[in-house]
Amino acid sequence: MSMADHRPRSIPDQLTTPLARALKSWESLLLVVAIGIFILNSFASPYFLNAWSLSDATFNFTEKAMIAFAMALLIVAGEIDLSVASIIALASTAMGVALQLGAGTPVLVLVGLGTGLLCGAFNGVLVTRFGLPSIVVTIGTMSLFRGISYIILGDGAFRGYPADFAWFGQGYVFWVISVEFVIFALLAVVYGVVLHKTNFGRAVYAVGNNATAALFSGIRVGRVKMILFLLTGLMSGLAAICLTSRLGSTRPSIGTGMELEVVTMVVLGGVNILGGSGSIPGVVIAAFVMGLVTFGLGLLNVPGIVMSIFIGLLLIGVIALPRLWAKLRRA
């Protein structure tokens, strides 16, 4: 008897082929939406198809997407961090303080990333050590981190960042390809590999699907979550560097409301808000969709509030559609 006889070759483990599944996946639907928006935009405004315009448009999402990658992993693992925009404020303020003390660009970068890590660690410890729900912890730290910025800065501002610091938010690597866009693209690859190709990535899914089962399978759940909070903090620190560099100044109101746009991006990307599923390609496409929508509507001078309504409808549609689809198929 050969080995092959034992394998249930005649019974497929899946009813659809991988190609069919890929075509029906959330990411493909989103990609169609993105391409649709791109085409509509090119018809709607004569200014849309211009290399520099499109390059400017990427700034609408690059910083948010940097955080969204880490946030995606965190949400897949069943947690959330609503303090990211406040971490930006605190990290930017810390960089401003370092600047006053005479720090150069390398130190500023370290201070930004370090502050982000510390904030992430603070969230992580509260959640993993004390077993507090992350949504409550991070709503608290959302006020705490930004509050510290307000105490330090009041209604003042830090300005006068060194010229080479402007490279992060205003620099271009090649022609219209901005530094921020390159960072975004590199992070997309790194996070894609981490989530989809490593043991750690599998652990993230396991924790999000059933933390207890994961724990009994030998996964150190607390440690996985702690790493994810640290990563989210680090990414917020990185976003703070880019945003501060782009604005050339720090005010305590920097990045206000960004946490909701980050979460919107993640959920639009097909990550289950309850945890357990989602993908990085989805988040990447969602970043483009949000960037294209806001920029396209901006070119038509559609008021911001209409844009918000549109993003809101998009989000509700995106969450409702798969469920409606499932219902229709059962009926």
Binding site: V33, D56, Q170, G257, F295, L299, G317, L321
Partner: protein
């Protein structure tokens, strides 16, 4: 699919927004701190008035949903992409808009700020609604106009360290010689708190029974003082004036506690900013220290060393026009 249908609907709807544009017109973007604020809606009205007067101008009135610098940068980026002729912005942040506005100027767009300014390197000129000397003169003139025989006036300011108020009071003292018979008997501080301002105003009326007017160059103080005058039964004896918002002062004007007060007129401000942007984009005016630029019916603005200029005297509001403005801001 539902989503695509939605997208098409929005795209078509937004296409209609853009439909009014005509290709040859000069496009001037009026960027405000946030949409949906009465003050800025009024400024947009002024901008449209200027456009109608000029004829070949299209106004793009826009701004973010919240008063954030990031939101304004997104808006300005899309205006740069549209290659508008000029951007007139009331900034949410003096510094944060500078890199983006510099980029706009590099691409040939004329950039000015108005109302809330941008740091010097991020704009070609800044239009202040008024100037400190003009305000200082206006607040005492408002009181003196209703006291032809002279009289006693007192100042109810914000805090002892409020920069703006202190400068205005200083400027007021400089021109006191032009108003003979008017005597400032006291200056008190209500700390921009309604209850403290109210107590200070009441105290003034008790200490100086012959007091004829209270000048409050602060929007909190002026409302509290008017209330104190009404409560003390001194309407008609003590006139409350100074700087206030029409929406908050409508009651005081109606009751007679305040004969008149002043503040900038947002319609004039939007009108003047548009006029200046037009002349800069047209190339028949330059923004440099000492230059004068025409503002249509508002006269001319002269630029100082920081290339900023003052539009006009604060606008006087009284019973004749308060109803038109109380719903605006």
């Amino acid at each position: 699919m539902k989503l695509t249908k939605l997208l098409t609907t929005v795209a078509v709807a937004s296409g209609l927004f853009a439909g009014a544009a005509s290709a040859d017109d000069m496009r001037i973007a009026v960027v405000v701190k946030a949409l949906g604020i009465g003050f800025f809606e009024a400024a947009a009205k002024g901008a449209e008035e200027a456009a109608a007067e000029l004829g070949d101008v299209e106004i793009i009135y826009t701004g973010p949903t919240d008063t954030t610098a990031e939101g304004q940068i997104e808006v300005i980026n899309s205006l740069i992409a549209q290659n508008v002729d000029a951007i007139a912005v009331s900034a949410n942040d003096t510094d944060a808009l500078v890199p983006t506005l510099k980029k706009a100027m590099q691409r040939g767009i004329k950039v000015i700020s108005w109302d809330s300014g941008v740091a010097e390197e991020g704009r070609m000129m800044h239009l202040n609604p008024s100037s400190n000397p003009l305000i200082g003169n206006m607040i005492i003139k408002l009181a003196a106009d209703h006291l032809p025989e002279g009289g006693e006036v007192a100042v109810l300011s914000a805090t002892t360290t409020s920069t703006n108020q202190n400068i205005w009071i200083e400027e007021m003292n400089k021109v006191m010689g032009n108003y003979p018979g008017i005597e400032v008997v006291a200056t008190v501080y209500g700390d921009d708190l309604a209850d403290k301002s109210y107590r200070e105003a009441t105290g003034l009326m008790q200490s100086y029974p012959d007091l004829d007017a209270i000048i409050a160059p602060t929007s909190v103080g002026i409302v509290a003082a008017a209330q104190a005058v009404v409560d003390a039964g001194k309407v008609g004896q003590v006139n409350v004036t100074g700087l206030g918002l029409p929406s908050e002062m409508a009651g005081a004007v109606e009751s007679g506690a305040s004969q008149s007060f002043a503040i900038w007129n947002p319609i004039d401000l939007g009108y003047s900013a548009t006029m200046i942007a037009y002349h800069l984009a047209k190339g028949d005016a330059t923004a440099e220290p000492g230059a004068t630029i025409s503002m249509g019916r508002m006269g001319e603005v002269t630029l100082d060393d920081t290339t900023s200029g003052a539009m006009a005297d604060p606008f006087v509001y009284d019973s004749s026009n308060i109803d038109d403005f109380k719903d605006i801001f």
